[in-house]
Symmetry: C2
Subunit: 994 residues, 2 copies
């Protein structure tokens, strides 16, 4: 392994990098070394390479896990500014390491890096070697909250992984570190002991004190305007935080506070460093970027219609952007062509990760000439009585450089004007396209854009070359520093990676000749066909529909799909399938192979890019999957040894929030709240709920969930079932974590729903009570999601209508109060309002009329009921009778002051319309049994006519105050009768018939 | 510079070293990286090389000093076990760095490394490249308090220094670090800012807290049996201590406490590591050392007398050991030869740093045979009456394997015995010498010995080869793993560094032929002659006598003296000469060149070893001196900008002792005490004293003294004089630091003496009062030296006789008490007693008769007076009259009980002898004016005869109690009259005439 470090060092120093030493305090990644995080700031050039032993307390595994180390070795390279060909330089470095880059499948897979703790981010890739992530490759865009100009390229090699792959060993301890000594022999003891320190033995109180002391020292150094020691102490702070975290001693609130503090310090450090370098007058000088290309001035003349080829060559686009950009470019080209007079045939666009290919059929050689009338003064004001041009006409003519005598008369909308007809001479196609295509590139944007060594362009990944051919002629496009030509790039490992394109015609075939399938559809078809064939060879199949998103992604990860079948040991099939498929899909983009009835087979289909040594690449991919499954198995086996109850005891070591206690406290509250809320369930459900509540959240203490938090609930179900719990209990534990996100399914079972509600009510009440309610930009605990979850669950479970928001909140409040925390009623009001807002949003997002939504919001404390009402409202859209009732009730409401009491002395009502309304009201009231809209409409429709008659015949504001009061009282009574049904006023004019 | 690191890395990995990364917490030296300090423990082999950025807060200079950096780069190599030729491997590494080792003067200069803080030490050298220390080369003997077996070789390159020399730049910032970027450009800002942190801005309270937290965490990790994290925390502790120290925030007591704590932890870490490796069954296996050579069994026969050559070939011996070992080897060989019957001529021994050459003239070919008589029983008991052998005789004969009839009769001391004469056959010279020379090597020992890759030998440096020739024949000597032969080693850079010696005869000439002068005397003569000649060439000379110790040292640093003249800029002559010559002598072993009247010239003589490129070596040596002088100039110039008063304000930032406050507090007390003690001085002296007291100790805050503490006082004088203080004040400030050591001169001036006394009285009283009195083995504050200083000063200044010890102590106590510290009288008594003990020691060490010393000790509170008395006593040695007086007084004292009152009723004295004595006493009393011995003798001689007569004639113990009391009273009066003069009893029999 040391040879590899020496080889990389030599490779990069030969390319002008200076070497620095690892930082002499613990850092979590090479990025945090000041040689990166500070040097990327400002305009100075900087090329550096170094080894960085990166300390990740969370990854401590006592040296037992084959792939995790508390200290792993990064080799870090910074190229500032971007040299223009960093990917090519990087690939050559792999060759220098002894990797046969022709034989292996090396890919750049989208991976955007962000470190919120330092306000830093960049776009780039993880580099895959046969499916193994060996390098993080990033165009650093922002650091310490400051935009970077110029942008730096950051290359971070994961050295142990690369070496394990190169040496074909499956445990880091077996790496041959130096001649005659393995990694385990050299560093095994340290790995074990430091794991002990980080996981078990570091003293929490001491580390907390250290955190404070470091943060304070950083603060003081900033005040002294010393960014270097300030940064040192931010790093010490950050490492200490990581130690505390791996000791399980950081609550969510503390985490948020600590991050805010570190982020604030880090940003100040960056700003101060930049300022200081400015004051020092940039000792290393200023970076130079490629100059802007000169604008083309000569354009070839074309004589016959010809096809256009325009290729935008990029570094690997994210799969989503391949699709999105191809559509956007097609629209842009078509729209822009439409804005010219150039005749042309179909516009088609194809895209791969490395190119967007625009083909336009039959482009005319030039635009036709065009005439246009330039309007002058009105004819009436153009000539005087003598027929001589007036001052106005003379001036216009002078402006148009014509003789006033040459002015023409034209009628425009019935008014006569003078003016002149001008001819716009059509431009040649090459000139038109030169401008137009340049604009397309300059205006190219994606969802998330970045910058590279170009002063003006911005896109999701760097644009590195342009091909623009009209027929066989180059269209001279110049945009920023790029100039289009006829040179394109094919596979990087091709014998000739850079080739000239003879002509636009037949370009797709030309690419195909170089192994590249430009058409997305063609690639997709090929992938599906190959995958199915491979799956069939082991008696399996691919779930084309179920995996369609994954297939789309794979399609856009390659230019030349090269599917191959891999396998894994059947023993891993003992793991829950969710784990296996999650790892395959999310981490590896492998297609799972299943039997016809959906059971997982120990096989997968991986799709490499282009030609490669199948055996080597298969072996590599299999090794990666094995390592990942080994990791999971490690947790799985370890967890299975622990009974759920025992595991749950571990919750007391997981902090939740300082004042709200540990996860154990929280699980206790959830169980209690669930007991209260579940009082009315069936006996069977109550029994399930009771057992599930006793185990609630136990899997958070499992190693699997600590590692893969998204498996919370999934693992609870698995572990509970395997430990002999009833199926219903296991399902309830699975359900209680649902919905996980806004689109996710709510719990299917009633006990699960009650637990899920209890969970969320507790979270909301507790955190609002301790003042951790979300703010505009920040919601670290995901309380919006929790609130939306409550609504979704209650909407999905109308049988739980007894669980209104206030009841749930009150139940939760009781147990939060028992923890010694004050929960004033006002807070519960706020939480309820917060949830109602989420409900409103859900309904609006679903496309409901905002007036209908507003009308049912007063019912939202029982979301299922509100939703039923909403549905009824919507069913009545266009119902004239209902519309009249609404109008009548709104009219009542408008007339009656809000404080008018809903009672009246009927004896004072003497006019017939008054009496009729009184009688109708009395009848309606008697008929009403529930406040559902249906019942109300049934009963209240009788009121519409009397109300309208009342208003037609009666002056409500009678002079006699007693009479007036009686009339208002009558209307107020109607108002109050209607109020619980919905907010009639909110319906607005949505039922007004015109 | 990065190329150099890469070249070293490659060199050592090619030699089987593994590479590790610098440690990821701040370390002061590569040694502290666990890859050294832990791995050298135990039996496992370990070969490692690594870069270590070594953090020394004390060396922070804001990047302004050309040679000091708060972080410098070490390249560290550990070879375990010692490969047998580490020096040769090291020299080849220099060649790999591009150093022409033939052209340059590369030397191994004694430097023994010890790190008491970790209980570690080793013997070795600093390696000089043309006078520049570029490497520390150590045979690591002990680490963490544990003896190392096997021994490791530690090579530590000072990378910046080597590169500065190679690139010929004079400021580290100008080093070309990488192509196109200098060291200053790359690291200048960090150097400045970290200097600010270490020197000015680190928060002391925070750092103190960190120290405690780290130490506690280390403690806990030890308790958890985790040496790796424990060591990590010891390192953090140690770095924090260094930060505190560079912030001037560590008092002497705190330092001692902190060191004790760190040492304790470090030792436990080492022990635990060794234990853990043992438990892990030594994962790296066990080291192999060369096996013992087989004992010789065949010895050549020699036929004629021949000269013997025996050469013990070593790695560079310390200069002192060259002399000492050559004498020891000569004695050993001569003594051992004397123990044989081998005839031989003169034994002479020559020595150089690399060899001890024994030459013995005319060694006989073999020992003569020798007869010896083995004594049996007495003849009387050997035969019975019948003349038959008794049982005893028969037994004896059987034991001697002879026939009883063959028993001889021999008279021994007049008694007849039977016995047998045996012949010891003489051994051949080769056999005799084989044994004898082996023993010489095995028994070789120096003052401080070490071990290397030999299982049995131990010497001041490794013994690497043996040559043993008798005439032209090899004497087969085998000792441990070494075997003697005829192969010797000459200069390492010679074309043939290893050569065969044809014969013992002419060996000195043989060596001379290879450029080596084996004779110390010859080398010395050559050096002096060459140096004088070179000095003369610039009109100067060498102070042969004054520099004689240095010349001796130089003589033993080379095998082939090669003197050359170097120069330095005259501008440095503005620096005080003490600085210049101290640097030349102590640091560089250069001979200063002076004019005839002693003024320093800007030249020096350096003595290289062997042939080299004079220009290159001269340039190198000059550059080194320039750098050192630049360093000194830097401090000098910086200090001169600060007025003494301003500088003195800095004392408040220097801690002295926790309870006794800062150095400013101490300086204040010294001034006050000096005021009290100087009350009786002349007006002029009082005025000088007053001003000097106001400035006392100000130079401790100067950069020069902080750097070179031995210049305290010297710099005070310089800086004071240059700031316009009167000469007398400057001298007093110089004087107050004297005497610096036991042999040093006391202050020459009276004000200086008073200040020096005040300084020491304060120190003694203060530290005794706070419980920091020295213990048997520990005297961190140097209180013994301070006490001896007081005595020396008072002895040297009899005019200050008014300053008795009690008075000085009381004056000091007053001001210590003012600081709020209790100073009981008992403590003052202890301090006085402590000083008297030092006085006694001084006098005894000076060779005074212990009885005379004891006699004057009662006077020691006024040391000058006591000394005067002592001198008088000594002048009277042999003076019979005085002897009689002494005897008479002792007789008086013996008779009189200690509690007998010194008064009597003269009327009760009636006997003539009584009366005569009474009268003589009365006369003597009247004549006595002072208690000096001279005066007393003059007056009291009259008493001798009456006392003797009194004892002859009078029975003191008369029966009449009144008479008895009167007689005792008379004698007691004499006793008390004599008592203040000296302790007569203590004189013992030293004046007894026989």
């Amino acid at each position: 392994m040391q040879d590899a470090l020496i080889a990389l060092t030599k490779y990069w120093t030969d390319r002008g990098c200076m070497i620095v030493q690892p930082f002499n305090t613990e850092v979590g990644a090479g990025t945090l070394n000041p040689a990166t995080i500070l040097r990327v700031l400002g305009p100075e050039p900087w090329r550096v390479a170094y080894v960085e032993p990166s300390v990740r307390p969370d990854d401590a595994r006592y040296g037992e896990n084959p792939n995790r180390l508390q200290t792993h070795t990064q080799f870090q390279v910074i190229l500032k500014p971007d040299p223009g060909d960093p990917q090519e330089q990087y690939l050559a470095s792999l060759a220098a390491l002894g990797i046969d880059i022709d034989a292996h499948d090396i890919r750049f897979v989208e991976d955007n890096w962000a470190n919120p703790a330092t306000g830093s981010w960049g776009l780039g890739w993880e580099v895959w070697l046969d499916g193994l992530e060996i390098t993080q490759f990033t165009y650093f865009q922002q650091a310490g909250g400051m935009s970077l100009d110029p942008v730096s390229v950051e290359v971070t090699y994961g050295v142990e992984r690369i070496i394990m792959a190169l040496q074909g060993v499956s445990h880091f301890k077996d790496i041959q570190y130096a001649p005659g000594i393995t990694y385990g022999e050299a560093f095994g003891q340290a790995e074990y002991e430091m794991s002990r320190f980080y996981l078990d033995d570091a003293d929490v109180e001491t580390q907390k004190r250290l955190f404070e002391d470091y943060a304070d020292e950083a603060r003081r150094m900033l005040d002294a305007r010393l960014p270097v020691p300030a940064h040192l102490h931010v790093l010490k702070c950050s490492h200490t935080f990581n130690v505390l975290d791996s000791r399980g001693a950081v609550s969510t609130t503390e985490r948020a506070k600590a991050f805010a503090r570190m982020r604030g310090l880090a940003r100040e450090v960056s700003a101060l460093w930049a300022e200081r370098r400015e004051e020092l007058d940039h000792p290393l000088g200023l970076s130079e970027l490629p100059p802007a290309a000169p604008a083309p001035t000569e354009f070839a003349e074309v004589t016959a219609p010809a096809p256009l080829l325009f290729e935008i060559g990029t570094e690997e686009l994210p799969p989503g952007e391949v699709t999105r950009s191809s559509a956007a470019v097609r629209d842009a080209v078509a729209t822009k062509l439409g804005g010219t007079r150039l005749a042309h045939g179909d516009v088609t666009v194809h895209a791969t990760p490395r190119r967007i290919v625009v083909l336009v059929d039959e482009v005319a050689p030039r635009e036709p000439d065009a005439e246009r009338f330039v309007r002058g003064p009105k004819a009436a004001a153009a000539f005087d009585a003598d027929g001589n041009p007036t001052k106005a006409a003379a001036g216009f003519a002078r402006g148009q450089k014509i003789d006033p005598a040459a002015l023409e008369r034209v009628d425009i909308d019935g008014v006569a004007y003078v003016g002149v007809t001008k001819t716009d001479v059509g431009r040649g196609a090459v000139e038109v396209l030169s401008d137009l295509l340049g604009e397309v590139v300059a205006e190219l944007r994606a969802d998330k854009n970045m910058r590279w060594n170009d002063r003006k362009l911005s896109f999701t990944r760097p644009v590195r070359w342009l091909v623009a051919l009209l027929g066989a002629d180059v269209v001279p496009v110049a945009v920023s520093s790029l100039v289009a030509g006829r040179t394109t790039r094919v596979h990087r490992t091709a014998a000739e990676p850079v080739v000239d394109v003879p002509s636009a015609a037949g370009y797709l075939e030309f690419l195909a000749g170089h192994g590249i399938t430009a058409s997305m559809a063609a690639r997709r078809t090929a992938i599906v066909a190959a995958a199915k064939e491979l799956a069939a060879s082991v008696g399996g199949t691919i779930d084309e529909l179920g995996e369609s998103a994954l297939i789309d992604e794979i399609t856009n990860l390659v230019e030349e799909p090269n599917a191959m079948l891999g396998g894994f040991s059947e023993t891993y099939l003992e793991l829950p399938q969710e784990i296996l498929t999650t790892v395959m899909r999310k981490h590896q983009r492998y297609l799972p192979v299943r039997t016809a009835d959906g059971a997982l087979l120990p096989h997968f289909v991986a799709v490499a890019n282009g030609d490669c040594d199948h055996d080597a690449v298969r072996a590599g991919n299999e090794a990666v999957l094995r390592a990942r499954y080994e990791d999971a198995s490690f947790f799985w086996r370890a967890d299975l040894k622990v009974a759920p109850e025992t595991m749950k005891a571990g919750l007391s070591r997981l902090a939740f929030e300082e004042r709200l206690g540990s996860m154990a406290d929280r699980a206790g509250r959830i169980a209690a709240v669930a007991g209260t809320l579940g009082a009315e369930l069936s006996t069977a459900d109550r029994s399930t709920l009771s057992r599930a509540a006793a185990l609630a959240k136990f899997d958070l203490a499992s190693q699997m969930v600590i590692e893969l938090t998204s498996l919370a609930g999934v693992m609870a179900r698995e572990y509970a079932a395997r430990s002999g719990e009833p199926r219903a209990v296991a399902e309830a534990l699975f359900d209680m974590e649902r919905p996980r996100s806004s689109g996710d399914t709510p719990p299917a079972t009633v006990p699960g729903a009650v637990l899920a509600l209890a969970d969320r009510f507790d979270m909301l009440v507790g955190l609002f009570a301790v003042g951790a309610a979300p703010t505009g930009s920040s919601d670290p605990f995901g309380l919006r999601r929790a609130a939306a979850g409550v609504i979704s669950i209650l909407r999905a479970h109308p049988t739980l209508s007894a669980i209104t928001l206030p009841r749930g909140l009150e139940a939760a409040a009781e147990h939060v109060r028992a923890q010694g925390i004050e929960v004033p009623a006002k807070i519960l009001g706020e939480v309820a309002e917060f949830m109602v807002r989420r409900y409103e949003q859900q309904l609006l997002d679903a496309g409901h009329d905002h007036r209908h939504v507003a009308a049912v919001l007063p019912l939202a404390t029982a979301p299922a009921a509100a939703e039923a009402t909403l549905r009824e409202i919507e069913q009545r859209v266009g119902d004239r009778e209902f519309g009249d009732l609404v109008a009548a009730l709104q009219r009542v409401r408008r007339i009656v002051p809000a404080d008018a009491p809903a009672s009246y002395d009927e004896k004072l009502l003497t006019e017939p319309a008054e009496v009729a309304l009184h009688e109708a009201l009395t009848k309606t009231s008697a008929a009403l049994t529930t406040t559902t809209l249906a019942a109300f409409v049934l009963a209240a429709s009788e009121l519409t006519a009397p109300i309208n008659t009342f208003f037609d015949d009666i002056l409500v504001m009678a002079e006699d105050p007693a009479v007036r009061a009686a009339r208002l009282g009558l209307l107020a009574t109607i108002r109050d009768l209607a109020a619980p049904v919905l907010d009639w006023q909110a319906l607005g004019t949505s039922f007004t018939t015109e």
